[in-house]
């Protein structure tokens, strides 16, 4: 059953990626402006070099042939050449991808540890802890990443001087230090949402009849929480954690720009401003792929946690 589910989800993933790649290519193909003018930087070229350019970039071929060249190139790791930096897009992406991956991973760890932790704590303990968490998370959930960024820079970089405000840093410790504030800014609203959903799930599961029965049978609290409450609450918690972590991939462009980090997202924004279309296409493809793959992993985890999912019925 799990095998068939996996096969179906993989087929859907490939279909999504194919359509996404088509949309990305077609959108930028249709972009106003003459590609030759963009490639030559506006200078007028002799007919011979014009012909070379047209041949190299397949500019005279029909649309679908061009798409095919681009897609098969992309599958071989060749995403074309950046017109502003005159370098391979793949090389440019490779040199920036680790900043982005590191930032998203760091923020994900924060979300899992503090988001779920806070949610479980507030779900199990009524009273002041719970009320405080509810209020705090209601506000933090509404803080956009770039607003969090300016507040964090103001407090922890300018006033207290604990962390550097901008840039990438060198070495592992330097990187970690430079990524701490960005990771917190990236994580904060997702963390609050995860905490709220976790709290609600823990509350719901604690109120179930089988849990009340287990309580009356005198099963120790630790065992009860782990085996009966958390095991069942794990399903909604996994879903919301997965969805929010996947959404970080797009939000990271904003955070990288706010902290002047040299990652994929900030580069995508610069490329969009300067109409460096090969770079926009390449990075979009990488980000969409990452987004879809993370979503697939979440679905698989979900299927493992809740075997009913593999039995079909996705109507719910």
């Amino acid at each position: 059953m799990l095998g068939r589910f996996l096969a179906r989800r993989l087929a859907m993933l490939l279909a999504s990626l194919l359509v996404a790649s088509f949309v990305i290519f077609a959108a930028l193909y249709a972009a106003p402006g003459n590609p030759v003018a963009a490639l030559s930087g506006g200078r007028s070229l002799p007919a011979a070099s014009l012909a070379v350019l047209e041949q190299r970039y397949h500019l005279n071929d029909p649309f679908f042939v061009q798409y095919w060249y681009w897609l098969s190139g992309a599958l071989h790791g060749n995403l074309g050449i950046s017109i502003t930096l005159r370098e391979n897009v793949s090389t440019l992406i490779a040199s920036r991808i680790w900043t982005t991956a590191g930032l998203v991973a760091y923020a994900s760890v924060l979300i899992v540890i503090f988001g779920i932790g806070l949610g479980v704590l507030s779900g199990l303990r009524r009273g002041l802890v719970d009320t405080g968490t509810l209020l705090l998370t209601a506000i933090s959930a509404a803080i956009p990443g770039f607003v969090a960024a300016i507040v964090l820079i103001l407090v922890f970089a300018v006033d207290l001087g604990w962390f550097p405000a901008l840039g990438n840093g060198t070495g592992f410790v330097g990187n970690l230090q430079h990524l701490t504030l960005p990771a917190v800014a990236l994580a904060i609203s997702s963390l609050a949402i995860v905490a709220r959903v976790t709290r609600a799930a823990v509350r719901t599961e604690s109120g179930r009849e089988h849990v009340q029965t287990a309580v009356s049978r005198g099963i120790p609290a630790r065992l009860l929480i782990r085996r009966h409450v958390l095991r069942n609450a794990a399903i909604p918690i996994t879903t919301i954690t997965g969805i929010t972590i996947a959404s970080l991939i797009a939000l990271d462009a904003v955070i990288e720009t706010a902290f002047s980090l040299n990652g994929l997202g900030a580069y995508l924004v610069q490329a969009a401003e300067s109409k460096d279309l090969a770079v926009v296409q390449g990075i979009s493809l990488v980000l969409v792929t990452a987004f879809v793959v993370v979503n697939l992993i979440v679905d698989l985890l979900y299927a493992v946690l809740d075997p009913r999912v593999t039995l079909g019925s996705r109507a719910q």
Partner: protein, 289 residues
């Protein structure tokens, strides 16, 4: 998730509670949020008229000057009155998300109702099309749109609406399916009422509380995403005032010790988004009841 459960009791609700009655049912937090939203909407419509000074007139000799008499929030890095820019900026900051929500809700509701009404092949095509659209996060689609059409609010708003549509359609499709199965729909069909007639006059109005709750939550997302796009320089273009633009252009002030202009715009965004989130959650809880 849980969309079907959300509307389970929609038809046993006492009728005629009206807008005010619904609002009162959301409790004090919901009412306070609605108040904040009304004030923000008022600023969006009349902010430029209320602004005491010109929001775009620069005066570099006043750059980064703090609050003084007549200028409650001081001046920004180009010597413009911050309060005037906040008031005038409410227009794009509020009406942009409103446009996104209206577009996404209309498209999402249309797709959901068609999928639920026709079922079968139409439902399968719509549902898998929406699944594929899920592959595009809103901000990414907006950046792509900016690369194609150039930076601007319109392209960003349309891109976000397209990215939000699958979320709307997924929630409403479940509700529409449930509503489609109600006996009153069959009764109307027997009476010979046309399908669009049933959908527009009965089915959609019965889903309205859910639609409004979803639209309220979505306004918060749209506001955050649009402000982010303007912050990136791909949305509203300076010198036009907009809360996202104001944060971007006053970011340098943070490191120079003049955080007020950037913070003021950030606080405006957070307060309005909190209001929409709280009210939206309460409205969902009401639908759920």
């Amino acid at each position: 998730m849980g969309a079907a459960a959300l509307i389970a009791d929609a038809d046993v609700r006492p009728p005629g509670t009206g807008v005010l009655g619904r609002l009162r049912a959301t409790g004090p937090a919901g009412l306070a949020s609605a108040g904040v939203i009304v004030i923000a909407m008022f600023a969006a419509l009349f902010g430029s008229l209320l602004a005491p000074y010109s929001p775009v007139l620069t005066n570099l000799s006043l750059a980064w000057v703090g609050p003084v008499g007549g200028h409650l929030l001081g001046f920004d890095g180009q010597g413009r009155d911050v309060l005037s820019r906040l008031l005038a900026g409410a227009t794009t900051s509020m009406l942009g998300p409103l446009a996104v929500v209206i577009l996404a809700m209309t498209a999402g509701a249309l797709l959901a109702v068609v999928a639920a009404w026709r079922r079968g092949a139409a439902d399968a095509v719509i549902s898998s099309g929406l699944d594929i659209l899920f592959a595009f996060p809103g901000i990414l689609l907006a950046v792509l749109a900016a690369a194609v059409f150039g930076a601007g609010l319109l392209a960003a708003a349309i891109a976000l609406a397209v990215a939000y549509t699958p979320y709307v359609a997924r929630v409403l499709r479940g509700a529409a399916l449930k509503e489609r199965g109600q006996p009153y729909v069959a009764a109307l069909e027997v009476q010979g009422v046309s399908a669009p007639g049933i959908c527009l006059r009965h089915l959609v109005p019965n889903m309205l509380p859910l639609i409004i709750a979803q639209a309220t939550i979505m306004f918060g997302w749209a506001m955050v995403d649009l402000a982010a796009i303007s912050f990136l320089g791909l949305g509203v273009q300076p010198p036009n005032p907009d809360w996202g633009v104001m944060i971007a252009e006053n970011q340098t002030g943070i490191q120079q010790g003049y955080p007020l202009p950037a913070l003021a715009a950030g606080i405006c965004i957070v307060v309005v988004v909190v209001a929409f989130n709280v009210l939206g959650e309460r409205l969902f809880a009401e639908v759920d009841r």
